[in-house]
Amino acid sequence: MISKKNCVAMLLAGGQGSRLGVLTKERAKPAVPYGGKYKIIDFPLSNCIHSGIDTVGVLTQYQPLELNAYIGTGAPWDLDCMSGGAFVLPPYVKGKTGEWYSGTANAIYQNMYFIERYNPKYVLVLSGDHIYKMDYSKMIRFHEKNEADATIAVIKVPMEEASRFGIMNTAENLRIEEFEEKPEHPKNNMASMGVYVFSWEVLKRYLIADAENPDSANDFGKNVIPAMLHGGERLFAYPFDGYWKDVGTVESLWEANMELLTAAPELDLHDASWRIYSRNPNEPPHYAGKDSEISNSLISEGAYIYGKVENSVIFPGVVVEEGAYVKDSIVMQETHIGRGTRILRAIVDEEVRVGENCVIGGEGAIAVIGCRVQVGNDVVVDAGRAVSPGETLA
């Protein structure tokens, strides 16, 4: 028998993240590496376990392999427990029919049976696309206190960026009066973080109605939330003030990494009470060579640094050879940077081999080298250029 859960989390991890270009050609956005050892999805997963939520459905769709392998049993996040756990939920065939997830709400709708197994009071719907530390249990208490049917976490964003988000217009008691998805002329800057708490009985009703509506895009922001408002349900905005970053573009991913290099980063990864867990690569500590020069950088296990690294984030197993210079860049797992090569304002993905005396990137837009790219000697890759995974540059 499965005991009743207070709350089950559903983590939407099917996002393509197309604006990340070559970085998401072979992986879903939640699997994008960040911060020298993490993947974006480590943040919501770690938040879940720290918030006392031990049952997490991870909804995958786009390029699921890397994510499925990464999550496994959920053990790295302590989610391999008896009564719950991490469950990867790809779309599947039911009887004679089967379909992809047509939208965020449809993904939850198609997995109603999974949620019903636990018969929870609340369902926490999360996006696997954001970097933040948040105690969801506080938000659930807020939801309970307000006797809400749905609670949407909101964060203040700069006014000029507000039109990229779902914007909440609320009464003084934070009850949501109006919800506008990506409005052209936003009335305020309280943006949805893509974190929702729903009372399951209410959500179930709306999901079924939404699925029966052929005109619906089956999206929470576009359809389900407006329908709930229209239906007079109690929707509340839960204000969050803390670090929250949507790394939707190459620039914002680069920026989010660089923000970790400031003297006192807003996102404190050293906080022992809210450790961010990730799958461990089992590498020895990194080695800084006799002539290495490393400043203002993050360097992870298994790296060998013989050259110069400045304002950069270096992932496990990276080798920076003698005379190489990595500046203002992100170099991901198992990438090899040859002698005399200069990497400037670039993101170099996993398992790339860069030969000797190359110049990658420069002043201007961020250059991106996709995973497993082979770069020969003396190659120049201009600022802003993106090289697709697996290509060979000679």
């Binding site: 911060g35 450790r275 590498e283 500590p285 400043s295 950088s297 984030v313």
Partner: protein
């Protein structure tokens, strides 16, 4: 596969006064080495990488840190339904009053576990030898020679001055590799083959040999079992060719950590294709400040470096303040060295705090040791 028929038995209860403060509060196998490991991780990983799925660890005194480290065996994939990791602490009986008088004594007290193992062969080893290998070739060699006992050894050409001998077992072998003579802690050894404190032996033979020794009031495996039986038993030696370190004194402990700064030792210990597993701590990558200056050092995750570090090994979550210099030193987990300090030829145990402006200088042959949790 051969390995399904082997279980591992690790004796982690060695007593060694030469390690002074470093091992006074912990088992030797729990000694922190190489920035993020405990000595026993290497042997444990060797076992697991050889396909051994049943490992007993005989603990004796001060095994709290060892048990904390090994836990359920999850980090070595030894949390199995059948077999897996067994920690074997001592218990008071009429025969055993708490302290093992030698390896035979320790094995004798683990007979309950040994009897229950379903495997036919035993890899019996201590916990203070650091190397990376798999035991597959050793096992094959043992079978091919129809041996009773096979020892792993390495060739030590260097004799380190100033180091007292601890379990220095010299082997003399004929062309086939059969051991014809042994010397234990010899003053003037003429063989360069040194035993690595690891033996492969059939389980029933081990049971017999140990019971036999104990019944005669003998407790040492080498002096009381191997040496008297050189003619009666077919004892073979098998050479391990890579890097080997033995943690039998402060000097050798210090040297082993410093060896990890050398490419040869790095390659032999970490790039053999067989990973070294250890307890996972989920630390953040190392943060280098704007004025950090780090040369020829190993820095484990979780550290924050704002000063200068040279020829040193820093364990997880060490803090090095601005204006501080750390040279030729080993700094263990969670130690904090504030601003404008100078630390040279020192071993700082875990959770040491060095307040601003302090100087701690030892010498290469006799490093200063600051004990766990001390505030300087």
């Amino acid at each position: 596969m051969l390995n399904n028929n082997v279980f591992g038995l690790i004796y982690a209860g060695e007593q060694n006064m030469n390690l002074i403060e470093l091992a006074s509060k912990r088992a030797i196998g729990a000694l922190p080495v190489g920035g993020r490991y405990r000595a026993i991780d290497f042997i444990m990983s060797n076992m697991v990488n050889s396909g051994v799925r049943n490992v007993g660890v005989i603990a004796q005194k001060n095994y709290h840190s060892l048990m904390d480290h090994l836990g359920s065996g999850k980090d070595w994939d030894l949390n199995r339904k059948n077999d897996g990791l067994f920690i074997l602490p001592p218990f008071d009986t009429n025969e055993n009053q708490g302290s093992y008088r030698g390896l035979c004594d320790a094995v004798k007290n683990s007979m309950g576990y040994i009897h229950r193992t379903s495997q036919q062969y035993c890899i019996l080893t201590g916990s203070y030898t650091v190397y990376n290998t798999t035991y597959n070739d050793l096992l094959q060699f043992h079978m091919d020679n129809n041996a009773d006992i096979t020892l792993l050894y390495n060739t030590e050409s260097m004799v380190h001055e100033n180091e007292s001998r601890f379990k220095d077992l010299r082997l003399y072998m004929n062309e086939e590799g059969r051991v014809v003579d042994m010397e234990f802690n010899s003053m003037m050894p003429t063989s360069t083959a040194v035993g690595m404190d690891i033996y492969i032996v059939r389980k029933d033979l081990l049971e017999y040999l140990v019971e036999d020794a104990i019944s005669r009031g003998k407790y040492d495996f080498v002096a009381d079992v191997l040496v008297p039986n050189l003619k009666r038993l077919k004892i073979f030696g098998y050479e391990h060719k890579g890097y080997v370190a033995r943690l039998h004194s402060v000097a050798s402990y210090f040297r082993m950590n410093m060896d990890m700064l050398q490419p040869e030792a790095q390659k032999d210990l970490f790039h053999t294709g067989h990973p070294v597993y250890t307890k996972i701590k989920d630390e953040v990558p190392v943060k280098y400040g704007a004025n950090a200056n780090v040369k020829n050092s190993i820095i484990a995750n979780g550290c924050i470096i704002e000063g200068t570090v040279e020829n040193s090994v820093l364990f997880r979550s060490v803090y090095v303040g601005k204006g501080t210099t750390i040279k030729d030193s080993i700094i263990m987990q969670d130690s904090e060295i504030y601003q404008n300090c100078w630390i040279e030829d020192a071993i700082l145990d875990k959770q040491v705090q060095v307040r601003s402006g302090r100087r701690l200088i030892g010498s290469a042959s006799y490093p200063v040791i600051i004990k766990k949790g001390a505030i300087v």
